[in-house]
């Protein structure tokens, strides 16, 4: 286990290099214009000289490989560079926002995994029953629902109709201090929406895994032993059908980040994901590189976790072979 983790960490370095380099390359090849992005709406009234001057000042006409190398060398010394869209050092951008994104994603993901699993198990219990059919239809529907839609509906329902939860922001808009209580109540909707957007995958995979396992001999054995339905479902069927779910834990992370991208902007959540799209379309290399590096680390860690969990939950998968 430790060996696998160690080997993976070694692998992380080349992957990070490849990903950031790739990011620089793709961004450079994309038609996005960093100068236009920097100038924002003002660019639409700007004349050629101004744009040219900005181009020189921002140093965006240098070859991307060179800029990547510069970024890399200074990043290794701890200087992540200056974000041009945010007009701030990248380290500050990340420092200010990372916590909130992490909070949002963690809560949402945990909720998605737990609730998704629970629903999946309950649905699998009586395949074809009304509960199963409701849950699966709902799951497919939700998987078809764009995140911004669910977000809007959630605001409409919980903030407007029921007046239960605040509609956005990290704290009450008029409040000046960040208190845990406020953050908690403001977290419910965005995290809920993000969770709901991830839920269908977990629910449906768990349902499928559990339903298949329920038909197999081991469950028959467990039933024959007189174990309670509860234990049979959770301790045997779910445990046997857990592999895809564990995989999802690792491989849904990118989707989660993509979802966070949208949720954060809809709910004015001051997180880092919303900055990602901006960084991308603005070809803000330093910020983009730092964000992708972050995402890469998250994804690598997630996948490593998933792989480790395989070994833990399915002894037939040999960690030494991965």
């Amino acid at each position: 286990m430790a060996r696998l983790a160690g080997r993976r960490s070694l692998f992380a370095a080349p992957v990070l290099l490849a990903v950031t380099f790739g990011m620089f390359a793709i961004a450079a090849a994309s038609p996005f214009d960093p100068v236009r992005a920097y100038a924002g709406t003002a660019a639409l009234g700007a004349d050629r000289q101004t744009l040219d001057r900005l181009r020189t000042n921002l140093g965006v006409d240098r070859p991307f490989a060179e800029r990547w190398w510069d970024w890399l060398t200074s990043a290794l010394t701890g200087d992540l560079g200056q974000s041009s869209v945010m007009r701030q050092p990248v380290a500050d951008v990340i420092g200010e926002r990372l916590l909130w994104s992490t909070l949002l994603c963690t809560v949402a993901f945990a909720a998605a995994v737990l609730v998704g699993t629970l629903l999946g198990v309950l649905a699998a219990r009586r395949q074809g029953g009304w509960f199963d059919r409701t849950v699966t239809s709902l799951a497919y529907t939700l998987s078809a629902a764009p995140v911004f839609w669910t977000a809007l509906l959630a605001i409409w329902l919980f903030a407007l109709r029921l007046d239960l939860l605040p509609a956005g922001g990290l704290t009450d808009t008029a409040s000046e201090h960040v208190t845990p209580g406020q953050v908690a109540s403001h977290l419910v909707l965005p995290a809920g929406v993000l969770a709901v957007s991830q839920l269908p995958w977990f629910t449906l995979y768990v349902r499928q895994g559990v339903a298949d396992a329920l038909a197999e001999d081991p469950v028959r054995g467990a039933r024959a032993r007189g174990l309670s339905e509860h234990t049979v479902l959770l301790g045997h069927a779910l445990r046997s059908g857990l592999l895809p779910v564990l995989t999802l834990i690792g491989s849904r992370l990118p989707e989660l980040i993509t979802g966070a991208l949208l949720v954060e902007s809809v709910f004015s959540w001051p997180g880092i994901a919303a900055a990602t799209v901006e960084a991308a379309t603005a070809v803000d290399f330093p910020l983009l590189a730092a964000l992708t590096a972050l995402a890469t680390v998250a994804v690598l860690a997630g996948n490593l976790l998933a792989d480790l969990l395989y070994g833990l939950f399915d002894p037939r998968v040999k960690l030494s072979e991965m």
Partner: protein, 317 residues
């Protein structure tokens, strides 16, 4: 006192295209408290299906008919809830055939044992569970140092012992053992069989054991039931069956003759297709005593269902 009383139990499997497989047909037998009934018969004759039917574990394309009384409960009519909550494990224990396939592959034997102990007995607390599980393992001669293994890391015999241990946990009044001795060497077979016998003897429990190991059957059984093509064709005392005068049904005789320590010759012919059984005696095509009367179904007399059973005098013929 009868623990289990089976009357007219039949099981059919519905197959695509309207075909039916008559896995068990019209089985009648009782198992009394403190008694061990051995069920033997050719492979594929319906023994395991019979056991599954008793536990309500048949697949969805099966149909069952008849009656199987466990005390005042009709096992065939009982709903899944009753079976799951009060019958399985608690009133009827099962040692399944192919035990390795019936263990949850992703969990260690210890955790499965402890779980069973926790659910079926009053034992609570980590340490108590642990020792109870180890004790249960020991009863089935499952080595303690293998408790932390997963099913796929066990040899066939070890898996068999694990399954036996699991089935003994619930101290159920009726134990159904489907081939409890496969994969075990002679010493272990004896150990297991003795353990089962002790289990029966202690509290007036009953045992229905299915086995191909006739030596083991001889050692443990009070009575023997022989099944052929889904029907019980002979039901008699073990002593009479294994000793003198010996079995009366021609099939039973053939079976005994096939033992390696006897003639070691198989009964000629193919086993019948359960989807397409003849109207009369299913064994007739393979029977050297068959006659025209065999085209009708022989009724079950006191111990045997055959138109031309061996009578005791014949036994030395």
């Amino acid at each position: 006192m009868t623990v289990l009383s089976v009357r007219g139990l039949s099981v059919r499997f519905l197959m695509p295209g309207g075909r039916r497989v008559a896995a068990v047909t019209d089985a009648h037998f009782d198992v009394a408290a403190g008694e061990c009934l051995a069920l033997i018969g050719e492979s594929g004759c319906g023994k395991s299906v019979l056991v599954s039917a008793l536990l309500g574990l048949l697949p969805a394309n099966a149909q069952a008919a008849g009656e199987a009384r466990l005390g005042d409960l009709d096992l065939l009519a009982a709903d899944e809830r009753t079976l799951a909550r009060t019958v399985r494990g608690r009133r009827i224990g099962l040692i399944p055939q192919s035990p390795a396939a019936h263990l949850t592959p992703v969990r260690t034997i210890r955790s499965q044992l402890q779980e069973a102990v926790a659910q079926l007995t009053g034992v609570r607390g980590r340490a108590a569970l642990r020792s109870a599980a180890e004790e249960a393992a020991a009863r089935a001669a499952f080595p303690a140092d293998h408790l932390d293994r997963h099913p796929h890391e066990l040899s066939g015999g070890l898996a068999q012992r694990a399954a036996t241990a699991l089935a003994l946990v619930g101290e159920a009044p009726l134990l159904l053992a489907d081939e409890p001795t496969t994969g075990l060497d002679r010493d272990l077979v004896d150990h297991t069989v003795d353990e089962l016998r002790r289990h029966v003897d202690t509290a007036g429990r009953a045992l229905l054991v299915i086995t191909h190991d006739l030596a083991a059957a001889e050692r443990v059984a009070d009575r023997v039931a022989v099944m052929y093509a889904g029907r019980i064709v002979e039901l008699t005392d073990a002593e009479a069956f294994f000793g003198t005068p010996g079995p009366r049904h021609p099939y039973s005789r053939g079976l005994l003759q096939a033992l390696p320590d006897r003639a070691f010759t198989p009964i000629p012919g193919m086993p019948p297709e359960l989807g397409d059984l003849p109207d009369g005696c299913a064994f007739a095509t393979r029977c050297d005593r068959a006659a025209d009367t065999c085209a009708t179904q022989p009724p079950m007399t006191a111990t045997v269902a055959c138109h031309h059973p061996y009578v005791p005098e014949d036994s030395h013929a």
